[in-house]
């Protein structure tokens, strides 16, 4: 992993040690330098490996590493003489200021392309650096619209020449629209008519726009059900009992939560404890509602929960193979958004580099703009492309449901692995 050695004080002993190491490396390294002709492309992977989002950030990094191993094993970037991809790993510590300095550090270390971020707040801090330093940044995970949209706007208004920030992940507005669409279709399919939906969300840079886009999409679609109340809670909530009492008092048919893993446990156990009588719990897209440890902890309290979230394309053989490897390397975790999009970002970068034939930032950006990549492994409504905002309009979600303690794709219908269960059976 990365190290922060510059703060260390120099004394005679460390100096001798370092000098020895440098001499040793030089002696070993020189012949390889002379021999190795195939260039490498350096890719910065900046993820939250420690701090509250460590779990997802580590998976995101793993996805990138798996993809790089696969691409290098298959001969690297062919149009660049078999150039190998080389990752520069960095840790945001789930802190946005650290995310920004790590972005700087990774670029100083020679990164020619950058991915990562995860938390929308971190991505917002990282995107301007990529833009200033002219390093193409492909956001693999982060739903808030702002990072790409604000750059696109600056380019439109002539304040910036080139857009270096792109995103393959569905933006918040796609999440919201698809969640409303899937819910409405599921209600029609199951001949049910829930009326009252209560939205609750973790009040941070991810939860707030995610909930807002859902509320907005529901208003615009006028789907026959109504969002009666929106209840935010603090990201590090230690107790949600009063919030749940408040939700209960609203007599909702469906609760739509935008959670993070720890608060998802708190929320689901509290809903069960207070015996809130619901037809279902359907999230417009959030982590914490399908991961193996969450299922193990929550057991019957997570059964029938639905999440309109990122999933790999269960019908793609390639995605299935990657999932098998993922399960092996994580001790049983399904291929979800984190490693899935981490993997996909590297696939897109490799495709871009094959076409740009060079690591020059503007050549890369030209190639990014012309992307029409069909080899993706995640759920989508078409090939990966980038629109006028730098977003991928074909990125999509799937409705998954926990059935017999397993996450199963239940909607859209043509991708479904099993019949959706709604309303959930009474206990």
């Amino acid at each position: 992993m990365d190290d922060h050695t510059n703060a260390r004080q120099l004394n005679r002993r460390t100096f001798l040690k370092t000098a020895g190491a440098v001499a040793g490396t030089a002696a070993l390294g020189l012949p390889t330098l002379l021999r190795a002709q195939a260039p490498t492309v350096k890719i910065g992977v900046i993820t939250p490996v420690t701090g509250p989002l460590a779990e997802v950030g580590q998976l995101q990094r793993l996805g990138a590493q798996m993809a790089v191993e696969a691409i290098n094993a298959a001969g690297g970037i062919k149009s660049m003489g078999g150039a190998k991809l080389d990752l520069i790993l960095a840790d945001t510590e789930t802190k946005h200021d650290v995310a920004r300095t790590e972005m700087e550090r990774v670029i100083n270390a020679g990164a020619q392309l950058v991915m990562g971020g995860f938390h929308s707040g971190s991505v917002s801090a990282m995107a301007p650096v990529a833009q200033q330093r002219r390093v193409p940044y492909i956001i693999d995970i982060s739903a808030a619209d702002a990072p790409t949209h604000s750059v696109a706007q600056a380019v439109r208004e002539g304040k910036q020449k080139v857009q270096y920030v792109y995103r393959i992940f569905p933006s918040s507005s796609i999440f919201g629209k698809l969640a409303v669409k899937y819910m409405t279709e599921i209600f029609r399919e199951t001949k049910t008519s829930p009326k009252r939906v209560v939205v609750t969300y973790t009040n941070d840079a991810f939860g707030k726009p995610q909930a807002a886009s859902f509320v907005e999409a529901a208003k615009a679609a006028n789907p026959g059900w109504e969002i009666v109340e929106v209840i935010p809670y603090p990201e590090d909530a230690k107790d949600l009992s009063t919030e749940v009492s408040r939700m209960k008092a609203l007599k909702p048919d469906v609760i739509s939560p935008v959670t993070r893993p720890a608060t998802a446990i708190l929320l689901l156990q509290e809903l069960a404890k207070q015996r809130v009588d619901l037809m279902g719990i359907i999230s417009p897209g959030a982590p914490g509602l399908y991961e193996p440890r969450q299922r193990e902890i929550l057991r019957e309290n997570i059964e029938y929960v639905m999440d309109s979230t990122i999933w790999h394309n269960v019908k793609s053989p390639r995605a299935q193979k990657i999932e098998e490897e993922h399960i092996k390397r994580t001790g049983g975790k399904n291929l979800g958004a984190e490693a899935g999009y981490g993997y996909e970002a590297i696939l897109v970068m490799a495709d871009v580099l094959e076409r740009s034939k060079s690591a020059d930032p503007d050549a890369i950006v030209d190639a990014i703009k012309k992307t029409n990549f069909t080899g993706g492994i995640m759920m989508s409504t078409g090939p990966i492309r980038f629109n006028e905002f730098g977003d991928n309009p074909n990125a999509a979600t799937a409705m998954i449901q926990i059935l017999k303690n397993k996450p199963i794709v239940v909607w859209p219908k043509d991708a479904a692995q099993a019949q959706v269960v709604f309303p959930r059976p009474k206990v």
């Binding site: 420690t50 701090g51 509250p52 460590a54 779990e55 950030g57 580590q58 789930t94 009040n203 209840i231 935010p232 809670y233 603090p234 590090d236 909530a237 230690k238 107790d239 949600l240 009992s241 009063t242 919030e243 009492s245 408040r246 008092a249 893993p261 720890a262 608060t263 446990i265 708190l266 156990q269 069960a272 404890k273 207070q274 015996r275 914490g288 991961e291 440890r293 969450q294 902890i297 309290n301």
Partner: protein, 290 residues
Amino acid sequence: MDLTLVGQGLLNGILFGGVYSLMAVGLSLIFGVMRVVNFAHGDMMVWGMYVALVLAERAGIDPYLSFVICAALIFLLGALVQRTLVQQIVEAPHAMQILLMLGVALVLENVALVIFGPDPQRVQSPLTMATLWFGPFFVDMARLATFGVAILLTALLYLFLFRTMLGKMIRAAADNNYGALVIGTDVNRVYVVAFGIGAACVGAAGALVSAFLPFQPASGLSASITSFNIVIIGGMGSLIGAFFGGLIVSIAESMGAVFLSPSLKEIVSFSLLILILLFRPAGLFGRRMT
């Protein structure tokens, strides 16, 4: 306003307050005796939770029984930290103490990350999902049990401090450590014991909430800040203050969630902090320090 909701919010606040109290009592004891702010307090709590998790999953011991073992182990951790690190900086300026304790917090957090991984955890107990209903009101049994044990532990600590020789020595060292030294108290030993007991309190609190509060290695900092807030409101170094401070903060947050937007509930407790600092800087139960 829905009166049931207000009543339920009050009840939830009181029951959760027991946890806050126990967290704060430990911090207050350490501060009262050594004038050291233990910023690793929340991380010690998280370690109490992980010990409870290991005991539940490996040995099948319910956290409502294993909290005794957790308290004992975190006592040892606290005593070790005191003996090896805190002892060196008891006389140092506060800024240095805080840096050291933040360092300890970082080490504890990241060791937990390496050993247990980043996933959120929760300990399974029969009480986890148990509730008792009285008409429209419900009592969360896990929180009730935690509340009861927290009160019991605080009372025992009080008895220990006022009725035993060692307790009297701790109080003497807290009052005037030079004076205590003069009359033959082994002040350094008293410090080790006091820090250990403070850590044990928060370790027990960790075990007692582990059945209903999900935790991750990174959960410590916010627990430290909450404890610190409570201790200032109750009065630095006052055990009674920490106890009632815990209840007050918990009720205030719960009422905040009823009357305001729940995401603003922490504003309520921190506004309370500012008010106390403005009008009663020694805290509700604190003695005026010169």
